[in-house]
Amino acid sequence: QQQVKQSPQSLIVQKGGISIINCAYENTAFDYFPWYQQFPGKGPALLIAIRPDVSEKKEGRFTISFNKSAKQFSLHIMDSQPGDSATYFCAASRPGTYKYIFGTGTRLKVLA
């Protein structure tokens, strides 16, 4: 129940295309879902986050879609750029806690 399952493991997208990464969870107590971006040799950096009371959140080219009934959420990267090539992690947390449960990561490569 503590797991967050992430797919795909790796993704190759042409420049200008849409990158889609999916995550699923079991624990309905989770109420905060951040996405992190990690470049090689760097620590993860917060990209965008959502709570389950909204179905979608958009920040620039990045959009989170949230489906509470299906217990799934996804990250969409519009107009993908080579500079977006990185590993992306979804995560989840429960109220009153301070730790994140991370997915296993998706390695995205955007071809120029």
Partner: protein
Amino acid sequence: GAGVSQSPRYKVAKRGQDVALRCDPISGHVSLFWYQQALGQGPEFLTYFQNEAQLDKSGLPSDRFFAERPEGSVSTLKIQRTQQEDSAVYLCASSELGGAQKTQYFGPGTRLLVL
């Protein structure tokens, strides 16, 4: 201002050696976290401090792992009698006072290799 810094960036240890990993959080951040990231995996929570108090150490994998933050700022993660399975990147993160829904800012990590 400066972000979270960690040292050393790389550490090679022989099996059985003790190691100490340092984390300098963002100035003024009350909360400090340690995570372990195995190759090709997501970070896994190890422990959490609020100021100098270690409020959660449920993720520490064994009693060989010990963390401290004596003055509520710099933190040290110590691993005694290192084993090969301890090889991983150890990430430190800090945030303003609050729970997980406050942004956690990560350092670059310390890559530990145990031979």
